[in-house]
Amino acid sequence: MGSTTMLIGTWIAGFLTLAIFSFLYKDNPVYKLAEHIYVGVSAGYWLIYVAFFDVYPMLIQGFQNETGIEKWILLVPGALGLIMLSRWFPKTAWLSRWPIAFTVGIGAGLGITANIQGYVMPQLQATLLPVTGWNIVSLNNVILTVGVITTILYFYFSKPHKGALGWMARVGIVFIMVSFGASFGYTLMARISLLIGRLYFLLSDLLHVID
């Protein structure tokens, strides 16, 4: 029974993989079928996931099991979640802006401190790189310092990019493009490995052409 189920599963996976690959030729009914199955199944999956791994354990079970303030504070997210349903009724639809505002505010507020502590200050510290002599490390430090400063200046919006600022911003965009090139190649390698994995599945698990 188990092996039969696995066999059927492998064939379905193989068919869906080829159906998705068929998009490389052009849009066609087989791709449409695979696409709709994928979108529908994934939407259903996330609905169940949120219900059983977020709402039930964190809200309902949490309310049943917690005591004191930890219990009653759960009424706040519960109420905000229910208010979102007010969109069903046109007269009360405006209420749904409250939980949205709450979510946005919390996200922005937490993000400021987290980014300053996690990104800005460590990166600023790592860019304090002096020249210590005629050596390769010092050359590297100069390149890094110039790269960081000119890149920051590229993202300076309060003045037009003219004169010295324009010149430095142009140097900055060169640094940005060099980093994009490196990132492109690096990510492409990762994508190729994903393709190899999928082809390996087709040739090995499905067709048994290779061992």
Binding site: A43, L124, L128, F155, S158
Partner: protein, 425 residues
Amino acid sequence: MTRPETPDRTRFGLLMVFVMLLTIPALTGGDSFARPRSLATSEILSSPTDLAMVPVLPPAVCTVQAADVPEDGGGLISVTWEVPEDTPGTEFITAFEILRYAPGETPAPVGDVPPTDRAFEDGSAEDGTTYQYIVRSVSPSGFTDSEPSGPAVASAQWFARGRFPVLLVTLFFCTAVLFFVQRAKGGAELFIRKIPGLEAVDDAVGRATEMGRPVLFVPGIETVSEVGTLAALTILGHVARRVATHGTRLLVPVADPIVMTTAQEIVRAAYAEAGQLDAYDPGSVAYLTYDQFGYTAGVDGIMVRERPEAVFLLGTFYAESLILAETGHAIGAIQIAGTKETSQLPFFVAACDYTLIGEELFAASSYLSREPVMLGSLKGQDLTKMTIVYVIVLGFVVGTVGALFFPGGNSFFSRAFDALYSWFG
């Protein structure tokens, strides 16, 4: 997306592990694969080690100190100790076991550490309870307890003084933003330079109108609490106003329910502002799925079937960026993309007509909306950026002068550089 595990690879991997298990212990002359772990006292005492090999009991550790971990959220007590040097039996210590007791209680183990460690953090302490600790030296021949530490009480602190620089920088940033927001609200003209790509927005909508084809706006795959999504939704408002004015069809597939709600509000408001509320179609903002690649497949399908003339890929994108941008390129649409995800920007640069790089996305939303809060925020960020540039230049000059002209590390410049460097740590 994980690579599927295959039986052959598993078999090969198991074979390799088996060979390694066979060979490496033989080469190293012992059970080198045994993960060093501290043993419970009962395990030590019942181990089959030849006790004749270990003639003496391990020495007791000294100077056992326990103290509340400073500037934390409570519930933590730090225990430290020293091992007397050149004392017989030290080399046979296999672990240190830490025992804790409150007044009136019997000492009970709360953890153990390898013999190389000289500190332990007790994370099971209750705030407000006085504890004392005993460190037990364990060897195959037995154990020896230390003198108890002094009393220690765990407590939470309101402020982590080590993060004072973070507070200062945050205050500086927030003050700068609030200052410029107030100026903008007061009617001051705050200049923002033109951003390449923004001018193309109106052209793209106009071209779609001429061709009689829809405009597709993809606001990324993240939730509404992501700043990238927020910036994208602000630009969506501008695009929707243009679309409403021109009478073009707008398609906004979304991956998050709250983004859908927000996008519907924004598009509806834009149609109302343009005096075209009757033309607003609530179905133009449609939820697909939260699944990353399910959403991608759905958007790709919309692209090839609806054939939009203008495609906006603005917001937070991850691995789906190139798939979307390539499909948009394949259908011949004019594409304007933007994201703060640096790893995805190269794909947008390669496959799209215009790309808003990183913060340009946020600047674009401020530029288009002309909202005082957004303009002030952008100006505040600019001030912070210039301050950062000045700090980097200052650090570079001071550090370089100290290193080149006053070698030795004791000059004013070297000390100033070190102070600046550690302040940001």
